[in-house]
Point group: C2
Chain length 421, copies 2
């Protein structure tokens, strides 16, 4: 079954706002095996919206529209959809009464304008809206269906889930889509592709065929595996086998196959080892600590962080010797290592991370250009086996250098924890 | 002049990826007074893509498509656009030679498949691509124009800017759009709207009419003012007057009218006062420091940050008395104030911020539910005038509580700096 999504709202045609409702809708439809083939984003223009409905209905069995169901004059989705299907609109007294009751429950009188939300295309079924005044509408035409949903995500989401569960799952046929996201770091997109490409055909050729998409961004690559099967168990077996194959090909570079973020993976490893971590950050400016503490329960293993932006703080709070900074510069491997040791000494953390670098846009030199970041991971008392130190050269602006620096630091902690366990 | 955008790529129809090229394109088109009336997102299906072009060309004078110009079989934009306009495709030998040269410059032979990128609809003009192999195409039909651009942002952006500057600005007519973003914090969307709504008609009624859009997210509200005028000076005057009016209505709640973020506004105020700031963070976990250090040049005024996630660190590193935590609890105004004082005492910072709260999802109580955040701003040595302490109750998940806590802390610093200057 093919679906189209129509997102309605003039604000979605400005440079400031992107339609995200359709991502949620796509995910829910995919779960019952329905693919989305077109998305159309239109403003509050009745003629354009009507033509979008006419087109969509001609092309696709299922059309889901969001937005434009409010009470004001620029809410034109009801009228446009009815016109496209050649249906007249009648007032549904029960809807108007429900809206009146909703207002009354807050001690208010329903404004006359809200009457418009009681207009229903002839033959349409009303989908109740527990979170707002705009009801949804379900309209069948021949073998096709048009569904109108409100635009506010809180109102749209529950209604869409009910529609999928109670109405669309039945119609969609036996196949479902099952997804797994493999997250990779420490190699480029092309090196990732090189390692797994020869497996694509094998994965696609099984009884639960898997389609693979590769998505690259700074500091991480994602492989999205999507299996299509009627049988959830068969899909799980196929995804499990493909994941194991990818793991064999990518080794430790594959850091997550179950949706966990890098910071969650590192957190779970720290918790399992019973180690508390301390973060000494210069160029990442607190981002490393902030990412680790984004994870619920991270107080179990995050001991402390120090943002040592000035040399004075590196010296006074972290105990980095002045002479070390004078000899090697603040952005250097010895200083990163001293910061990592210092945070352990000062806070009692079991494992220390030091990050120092040039985030830019200024401050770079020929020898240490913008994007140079030194990272040290130190477990005091273990000598050399307890130390990892590396220097990176990242591309991109200040924000990207900070992110990649934090990602590289987390990844070094992860590898150290895995390789020494 | 009305424009439509067609974004091509099956990955844009998955739950994982949103079309962002169109935001950039919309911004550039708006600058020369061209509105976007429809956006269509389609996969690699030639029939669907052709029907999208047929529709778009019938509705709009300008159609801009991105993506699907690569060398492989699933790159079908050239063929679909040519078919929609009834044009045949011919090979342009110069394009093929340019691609061969590009490969040769890296010591490579052009794969035969890249020949496809030399296919040009009859009568189309070729737009050079300095960053990749896929050239863009400019096709006129009657009074309308269809422009095909590559999908990778790096290749698309420069080409689009050249097209707008050299070709579209002329055709677009005299009007341009001029935008200003007003950022507001400390009041809800409806309280913001209440304060400015009565001005909308005045702003819209001037010689350079201004349209106003309000966008709300957690912790901040944006008012987008868009003036339409042939004369840049007239637009600037109108936007300046509307901004002054908004400032009179919103007072200090309006924190930015020139595109600066909250962290940049606070940074500029700190620099102007010659004050260095120290951050003592519990529940925000480093996010406050990270946001401040996102701003280039922030080493001028960020002295140090401490992430004190455990009570032990609050005591040992920040010098918060054990008894204070025992008496009031770690999430309390006295502890926030002691953290703010402590970071100044330990690091020599001139102004200290302490943030302690319950980010959730666990750790809440009836008395201090998830979302409770205490913030203190302390300038040592000034007594009461140097202290601001507040407790907030934020809604939303862990990430949103962290963000709103950091936003509230920055805003308290901003107001203190403005009110004591």
């Amino acid at each position: 079954m093919k679906a189209e999504i129509i997102a309605v709202g003039s604000e979605l045609l400005t440079p400031a706002k992107v339609d995200t409702n359709s991502l949620f809708i796509t995910e829910r439809l995919n779960e019952v095996g329905i693919d989305v083939s077109v998305k159309t984003i239109v403003g509050d223009d009745p003629a354009v919206l009507r033509s979008a409905f006419v087109q969509a209905v001609a092309r696709s069995e299922l059309v889901i529209a969001t937005g434009g169901l409010g009470p004001t004059d620029d809410d034109v989705t009801r009228e446009a959809a009815a016109a496209a299907l050649g249906l007249s609109l009648d007032e549904d007294v029960r809807i108007v009464e429900a809206i009146e009751t909703r207002f009354a429950s807050r001690g208010l009188t329903m404004p006359a304008i809200n009457r418009r939300q009681g207009q229903v295309p002839r033959g349409a079924e009303v989908l109740p809206n527990p979170h707002g005044t705009a009801p949804g509408l379900w309209m069948e035409h021949g073998s096709g269906v048009v569904v109108l949903l409100p635009g506010p995500p809180r109102e749209m989401r529950g209604m869409l889930e009910a529609v999928v569960r109670e109405r669309l799952a039945r119609r969609a046929g036996p196949d479902r889509l099952f997804r797994r996201v493999l997250r990779v770091t420490g190699r480029s997109e092309s090196h990732t592709e090189e390692a797994v490409r020869s497996a694509y055909a094998v994965w696609a050729g099984g009884p639960a065929p898997i389609a693979t998409t590769i998505l690259a961004s700074y500091g991480q690559i994602e492989l999205h595996l999507t299996a299509r099967a009627a049988d959830a168990a068969a899909a799980e077996v196929a995804l499990e086998a493909a994941t194991a194959d990818a793991r064999a090909r990518l080794g430790l570079d594959l850091y997550s196959a179950d949706g966990r973020t890098m910071e969650a993976v590192v957190g779970d490893l720290l918790r399992a080892r019973g180690l508390r971590i301390g973060l000494a950050e210069s160029c990442t400016g607190g981002l490393l600590a902030s990412r680790l503490t984004d994870v619920p329960g991270s107080s179990d293993y995050v001991e402390a962080g120090v943002v040592a932006y000035s040399n004075r703080i590196k010296t006074s709070v972290l105990g980095v010797p002045d002479a070390l900074i004078a000899e090697h510069g603040a952005v250097s491997e010895p200083v990163a290592a001293a910061m990592a040791r210092g945070i352990c000494d000062r806070t009692g953390a079991d494992l220390g991370v030091g990050v120092t670098g040039v985030a830019g846009p200024s401050g770079g030199s020929d020898h240490k250009p913008v994007g140079t970041v030194c990272v040290a991971v130190v477990r005091p008392g273990l000598g050399e086996p307890g130390r990892r130190i590396r220097t990176f050269r990242f591309l991109g602006g200040r924000g990207l250098v900070k992110f990649q620096g934090s990602q590289a630091a987390l990844d070094m902690v992860r590898r150290w924890l895995l390789e020494t366990s």
